[in-house]
């Protein structure tokens, strides 16, 4: 199997869908001619292959980019637009939240808006809090949007294909650090359904629900804990909306313990949603308090040691899991 990074996997998905379907086009800032000419970037080489008709460089105008997607999609095109960094979503937010997400409902189901908004997210790039600010919880709290946030190259490719083929607005959030991390990706055409979580590692003692970049730390922590005799089941959410409650509940029913791990700040993060679902629907199975591991409630700081401090790490996961393994069963 090919070993490629998430950046390359996204690139493959875009190319293959653009080849398959003439209605698919991409637009955004630096999508065609950008400042980076790096094959690990998702839009590398698209302009060369598909030309200026289908690869649209736009001005720095996030509201217009999002509006372009809304209008083009209602006409039957399949726009895949990029909002460069997650915090710039704020500028496109009216188009995405009040229009992309609501206009189908407002039409009484007559219209559809098959669009994808790709956004880069994540800390660790030394750009500070106006570039790094994980806002997936916002998007997940907006009926009418699907929200996808892959953690591996293979998932990214398969899920982006589904997103492009989906008849609804899909928000597709890519962690920038993962652009450079390789992983196995099938050569053949495949897609992964939106709304299905993936048990990335089975285990019996505790369920660790996570997504996107934190998957890496989850794996490392689980490996260490295994040596202590604690068996961690890693559930990679992959899709936040629609949420795969079934997979989560099944796992917690088995393990009786839940830890939720995400990079976004703690208060109001999507971890609360997972905790609430489990505290309501699998309460009787719970043997220990539900733990959330998340960034502290601060903007992403710039200084290297501070930025590292911001990101939840392996050690915190290990300690949290040890703690709930010790907490008395109720």
């Amino acid at each position: 199997m090919q070993q490629i990074t998430m950046g390359e996997a996204v690139n493959q998905a875009l190319r293959e869908e653009m080849r398959r379907d003439e209605q698919v086009f991409v637009a955004g800032e630096g999508i065609g001619v950008g400042i980076h000419s790096n094959p690990k970037f998702p839009t590398f080489g698209l302009l060369e292959e598909f030309g200026t008709r289908r690869v649209k460089d736009t001005p720095v105008s996030e509201a217009a980019i999002a509006g372009l997607a809304v209008g083009a999609s209602v006409m039957g095109l399949r726009p895949v637009v990029e909002i460069m960094f997650n915090p710039f979503f704020t500028i496109a937010a009216d188009q995405i939240v009040n229009h992309a997400a609501k206009l189908r409902y407002l039409s009484g189901g007559k219209s559809k808006f098959p669009l994808v908004v790709r956004m880069k997210s994540g800390s660790g790039i030394g750009a500070g809090c106006q570039h790094s600010h994980n806002l997936e919880a916002w998007l997940a709290h907006c009926p009418g949007l699907k929200v996808v946030m892959p953690g591996t190259p293979a998932d990214a490719k398969g899920l982006l294909k589904s997103a492009i083929r989906d008849d609804n607005p899909v928000i597709f959030i890519e962690d920038m650090i993962l652009y450079f991390v390789p992983g196995p990706v099938p050569e053949e055409d495949y897609s992964i359904p939106i709304g299905v979580a993936d048990v990335k590692k089975p285990g019996g003692d505790v369920t660790l629900v996570t997504w996107s970049k934190m998957l890496g730390a989850a794996f490392k922590a689980a490996a260490k804990l295994e040596q202590e005799g604690i068996s961690v089941e890693i559930v990679d959410l992959r899709t936040l909306v629609p949420l795969d409650e079934e997979t989560i509940l099944k796992s917690v029913t088995k393990t009786g313990r839940l830890v939720v791990l995400h990079e976004a700040t703690r208060t109001g993060g999507f971890g609360g949603e997972i905790a609430a679902v489990v505290a309501e629907k699998a309460f009787a199975q719970l043997k220990a308090p539900i733990k959330r591991i998340a960034a502290p409630d601060i903007p992403v700081p710039y200084s290297k040691p501070l930025e590292e401090f911001y990101l939840p790490n392996e050690k915190m996961i290990i300690e949290s899991i040890r703690a709930i393994m010790q907490s008395k069963e109720q």
């Binding site: 086009f25 008709r53 649209k56 736009t58 001005p59 105008s61 996030e62 509201a63 217009a64 999002a66 509006g67 372009l68 997607a69 809304v70 209008g71 083009a72 999609s73 209602v74 006409m75 039957g76 095109l77 726009p79 009216d94 188009q95 009040n98 229009h99 206009l103 189908r104 409902y105 407002l106 039409s107 009484g108 189901g109 007559k110 219209s111 559809k112 098959p114 009926p143 009418g144 699907k146 008849d167 609804n168």
Partner: protein
Amino acid sequence: MENPNQVVLLETMLLIRRFEEKLEALSKEPGKLHGMMIVCTGQEAVAAGVSAALEPQDVIISNHRSHGHLIAKGAEINLLMAEIYGKRTGYNKGKSGTLHIAVPEVNALCTTTVVGGGIPIAVGTAFAAQYENKDFVTVCYFGNGAADEGSFHEALNLAALWNLPVIFVCENNVYSGAQRQEEHTRVKDLADRAAAYGMASQIVDGNDVQRVYEATAEAREKCLAGDGPILLEFKTYRWGGHSTTDHQVYQPKEEIEQWKQRCPIEKLKKELLGAGVLTEATWQQLNEGVMKQVEQSVQFAEESPWPDVTEALEDIFA
């Protein structure tokens, strides 16, 4: 393009007028309508004139003051009225109500009550025409107030840059909520903003339906020839308050009266009577026919069933 049938234009304006008057009346009857109503009384010539220049495949993007735009584009008033009542038989099954009625049947694809929110969307529908090399234009309606939103700026710049077939229709009715134009911007003519994007523009008397038609027809031809986009500013006036709950303390009575003297319907009526195209009798007929249609739409709406509450959960995802 051939001149539109003048009597049909008159009838369209009259239908809009009577529809809006009815809504104003209904909004005063307690328990009839849900929420406030926003009507376009006095501005009928813009919608009627613009749509007279359009073909069915042309797309319109509308705003909170949409009833006229929709009726002129061919929406059926029974289904509009039912939507405004919140009934299942309405265009959007009652989910939309008065503020954001979409009528895909006549290519009125997106109506939004977010001021300025439709302008970037029009860029998208126009882009689709260009992308697929299809012969249709997009008309994007918005008010003078909307021209101050950032979305206006981003959208017009992008439309100009890409040469998109879109006609931006700024319906300048003097007010933005309770603010007069001079209270929300220093520029006198919003059409002048087109120059900031290298875009063509034109200022047109928005109470003269024939001029509105001509300007739109010309703009449409340009767009189809690849010489779009264009910004048309139609100068008109909102006879009533912003909405039916408006106390109108800020709107001078004399100003209203002056503009009523320039009623677009009266103007065309006089011309047609003068030209012998219309008689007092045919005018009466027209008016009665329209009134009847409006009454029937109310009856249709009132007799229509409410949506079942669980229908609220439908139509969210395709």
